[in-house]
Amino acid sequence: MKLALTSLACMMMASAAMAQPAPNFNKPLVSDISNHEIEIHESFSGTELLLYGARNEQGDLIVVVRGPEADIRIRRKERIAGMWMHVESKRYGPLPLYYAVGSTKPIETMLSPSVLQRLAIGQHYVIAKNSGGNELFNKGMLEELQRREWYTETSPVRYFGETLFRTTIPFPDTLARGDYTVETYLVREGNIVSSQAIPLRAFKTGIDAWVFDTAHNQPWLYGIACILMAVAAGWFANRLFSRS
């Protein structure tokens, strides 16, 4: 990784020194991640990716990672006649199933709440954007997502020298499959000066992924296979034990 950072830095310096007309080298913000794919294999126990980059202008940095989206229903339990049961539920519009945010300074000191809400930067802004404004459910939703480590913070974004920066992004073992985006924002005086989005894909491999897909995509076939498996086992047991 150090090698990558050094070479990146070398590239920057070279571009500055030679002042070539290639505009790409003068981008205010450049970043990349250590891997563009996460393989969720059978013994996957979570992973970390490194995000690194360089800024060529003044400003503070925000890193946002968004996972694939889905609607989520949240239910609240209450004690009724001594028993705990679900009493109330609410459906949230598409929410990312993974969300990580990190920055060089607290994000509230960098951008106004309206901008944070509009761009869904910050964990509670993502949820608030998709809710009807029920604070109790918003709080419960965020707590539950954080408990599952689906909503989290990256390590603090750190500078190396004046231009280079890096952070690590943690991914839990229960990571959702699908397309992710890693966004980097350069912010100066309450405005976003530059931003970059890098795609990231998480995919499952192994027999369990195949079983899961078959169960959901070919339910009739899967059901019949389950029955045949059990019938065959029963028949085999009968043969085996009726002889002895």
Binding site: D71, R73, K77, W84, I224, C226, A230, G234
Partner: protein, 303 residues
């Protein structure tokens, strides 16, 4: 050895699951009742979602019931005609059970309903087992005589048939109704339902004891298979890896249990089983009343 269960979405020790299947198989072999009512709660204690525990348990039961059915068929101890009418009812009951299951899932009440059903049924079976052990201890035999007509109104139902193998005449509505009631329990609880089917066959249908078990297993094979298919298609909660591990344990355990039954003081063992059932029921009930660690639960809605 850790295995990942793809539908339950958690890792478990394969040996634990084989042992769990084995214990329920031994119980089935010893007492002639399935032990399915212990698999589901124990899976739930392990962290498997109640819906997955129920559907997978139904899948698992197919193997032991089919295996048992084949042995009884070989000795001609199955009333196929009666069995067919029970199966017809069983399929209806199972379909109804799946519909109720789905509706309760949608309302977010399925976990609660499964737990309440289990607490009720476990206490019921526990009381029956304890009573049988106590009666034996007192030196009494079963106090119901088979030639007694328990429910005279049931004898007046229309559409009478003669069931040659069992040498009884009944309205076909009777086995269809009994099959449906059991099918409902199979779909909602993932149990075979033998504990309720066997006494009904003996005392309501007055079938000869020799064909009762084989015919019940015939009914159970079809209803559990049909329930497995319906759960696979509508709720997608059948975990084939989990079912495979459990059923290997249970078919082996059943053979062992049948042999043990001849060597152990089986009537007193029933009292022990009753205690286990009460303990599991209490543990389930406790979970309903303690303050949960999470007040909120999330469900991802697939696109």
């Amino acid at each position: 050895m850790q295995v990942y269960l793809p539908i339950a979405e958690l890792s478990a020790n394969a040996l634990d699951l084989l042992a769990l299947g084995g214990v329920t198989g031994v119980l089935a072999g010893m007492f002639g009742i399935g032990g399915g009512f212990l698999v589901t709660p124990i899976l739930m204690f392990m962290g498997v979602a109640p819906a997955v525990a129920v559907a997978t348990s139904a899948n698992q039961i197919i193997a032991a019931s089919f295996s048992g059915f084949l042995s009884h068929l070989k000795h001609k101890r199955v009333d196929i005609q009666m069995g067919n009418h029970l199966v017809a009812g069983g399929l209806l009951g199972s379909a109804l059970g799946i519909w109720v299951f789905k509706a309760l899932s949608k309302a977010g009440q399925i976990d609660l309903m499964i737990t309440i059903l289990y607490v009720t049924i476990l206490i019921l079976i526990g009381v029956l087992m304890a009573r049988e052990a106590w009666l034996y201890h007192q030196g009494k035999k079963r106090d119901v005589r088979q030639d007694e007509i328990l429910f005279p109104s049931l004898e007046r139902l229309p559409y009478k048939r003669e069931y040659a193998r069992s040498e009884v005449t009944h309205s076909i509505l009777l086995p269809i109704g009994m099959g449906a009631l059991t099918g409902l329990l199979v779909a909602m609880m993932g149990i075979g339902g033998g504990f309720i089917m066997l006494p009904m066959m003996l005392y309501v249908l007055r079938m000869p004891p020799t064909v009762v078990v084989g015919t019940s297993l015939y009914h159970m094979t079809f209803t559990t298979a049909f329930t497995t298919l319906l759960h696979a298609v509508t709720t997608q909660t059948v975990d084939v890896v989990l079912a495979a591990l459990l059923l290997v344990g249970s078919v082996v355990g059943a053979q062992w249990g049948a042999r043990l039954a001849h060597r152990l003081p089986i009537h007193y063992m029933r009292a022990l089983l009753a205690l286990i059932l009460f303990a599991v029921a209490l543990r389930l009930a406790y979970g309903l009343f303690i303050t949960p660690s999470e007040i909120f639960t999330l469900t991802i809605i697939p696109k």
